[in-house]
């Protein structure tokens, strides 16, 4: 299950949030060698890990096995502060109903086609965005990942052309939050809905919505 953690319930998950910072350091610095993120305390924490950030963590027996982060686009975020040129054709997409997705990860033991953890995190993210009435998710990603999202039938709009960053082709995109995208993602790995555990407030209702961006 995917747990939604923000400033309001973070105390309930203090241990898991710390574990997730250490996992991020292992994955992004030690495994993928994004050396500018390296920190002496072995916790990968950047300028966007603020009270505005929302974490979606996949937990198994209380242990973090995967996760992702969402940051409101009205706040400073990765695309606006670090990679604005990745949106140099369609422009930065900001709004109260647009969030930026960063730092998706699955711990090595739960990767591969036999595992549904990655797709559970993806479905959880869409489910959360549907509930919040968000219309779109922007993301900076490595270009070679795009076919995986297109394969899921997601509507993925490029905001600029692929650009080489440190020897890796990257791209800025915007993904429409739709019930269809959510359902396709669940069906892809036969994941049961709902995927979320939300210990923040009362009952939640998914509404039918439309998107109107770009």
């Amino acid at each position: 299950m995917i747990h939604i953690i923000d400033a309001s319930n973070r105390r309930l998950y203090a241990e898991q949030i710390e574990e997730h910072f250490r996992i991020r350091h292992r994955i992004y610095v030690e495994e993928r060698r994004w050396m500018e993120l390296e920190r002496p305390d072995g916790r990968e924490v950047d300028q966007f890990d603020t009270d505005d950030a929302v974490y979606l963590l996949a937990l198994k027996d209380g242990k973090v096995i995967g996760g992702s982060r969402l940051v409101p686009t009205l706040c400073p975020h990765l695309m606006s502060e670090v990679f604005p040129y990745l949106a140099n054709i369609r422009g930065l997409q900001r709004g109260p109903d647009i969030v930026e997705w960063t730092r998706i990860f699955v711990v090595p033991e739960y990767r591969g086609r036999e595992s549904a953890v990655l797709h559970t995190v993806l479905a959880g993210m869409l489910e959360y965005c549907l509930e919040q009435n968000f219309s779109a998710i922007t993301v900076v990603m490595e270009t070679w990942w795009m076919p995986r999202f297109l394969e899921l039938g997601w509507e993925v709009k490029p905001l600029g052309l692929p650009t080489m960053i440190d020897g890796m082709s990257c791209i800025g995109t915007m993904i429409s939050v739709t019930e269809e995208a959510w359902r396709n993602t669940l069906a892809f790995k036969r994941i049961a809905a709902p995927t979320l555990v939300d210990r923040r407030h009362g009952p939640r209702i998914i509404k039918e919505r439309r998107t109107n961006h770009v």
Binding site: N88, I89, T143, P147, R148, L150, E151, P158, G160, P162
Partner: protein, 242 residues
């Protein structure tokens, strides 16, 4: 007609918008052909790649290769030794043919393949490998005699190719979508709501033996055994709606 692309980026994004709205494989081929021609590529193919000894033909999603070349390629089993195809499986990055093919170190067979390709004016080429969770999946490959391989053009073609592949795959699955006939789907739909063979025969005004034959055919096509499994499988594949 290679040359300057005043705003390759905007043009590529506009093309992707148009492409996204297309569904018919023939229309997709035509619009992709025109677009790539504007960069000086007259030939293209979107395909999976076979293991050595297997056939490439069943893996082809969209075929925009020149008349005669594909036939030659298949007849000669070039896929087994094609140096460009081999490189596709080793990288996630798009590449220019000239970056990976060195005539001086190529085998006689590889040289033959590249020489025969050049007979079809397929001299300089560009490949965009497509990967998913399982690794290498397909390639969008294109060639011409004097294509525009500038950085901005490559970047634009890279992006357009990712969408063209996704579209080609969706379109091909779309056309293959219904493997059952209308009658077979009708029979399964009535079985799904609980009708017996006799009940279905009555509703459709056909003989019970015919109903049974339709059901058997559907079960065979779906690789399922028993009524329940056949109905469930048909539903999962979108053959019938419940």
């Amino acid at each position: 007609m290679s040359g300057q692309h005043f705003d390759a980026g905007r043009d590529a994004l506009d093309f992707i918008d148009v492409l996204t709205r297309l569904n018919d494989p023939q229309t997709i081929i035509t619009s992709l052909r025109d677009k790539l021609a504007s960069f000086g590529f007259h030939a293209f193919l979107i395909t999976g790649l076979p293991e050595t000894g297997d056939r490439i033909a069943p893996l082809v999603l969209l075929n925009g290769w020149p008349d005669g070349w594909f036939e030659l390629y298949v007849r000669q089993n070039y896929a087994d030794d094609d140096p460009i195809a081999a490189h596709c499986k080793t990288t996630i990055n798009p590449f220019v043919w000239d970056e990976v093919y060195r005539q001086e170190v190529a085998s006689a067979r590889q040289q033959e393949i590249m020489r025969r390709a050049s007979d079809f004016k397929m001299i300089h080429g560009f490949c965009v490998p497509i990967h998913n969770e399982d690794g290498f999946k397909a390639v969008v490959t294109m060639a011409g005699d004097k294509p525009d391989l500038s950085r901005p053009s490559r970047s634009a073609i890279h992006l357009m190719s990712l969408y063209a592949h996704a579209k080609a795959e969706a379109a091909m699955h779309g056309t293959q979508g219904h493997c059952l006939t209308v009658r077979e789907r009708e029979v399964l739909t009535w079985m799904a709501v609980g009708k017996s063979t006799e009940g279905v025969a009555e509703v459709l005004n056909i003989r019970a033996g015919t109903v049974e034959a339709h059901y058997q055919n559907a079960a065979r096509k779906l690789g399922a055994r028993g009524r329940t499994r056949t109905v469930v499988e048909a539903h999962l594949r979108g053959e019938i709606q419940l």
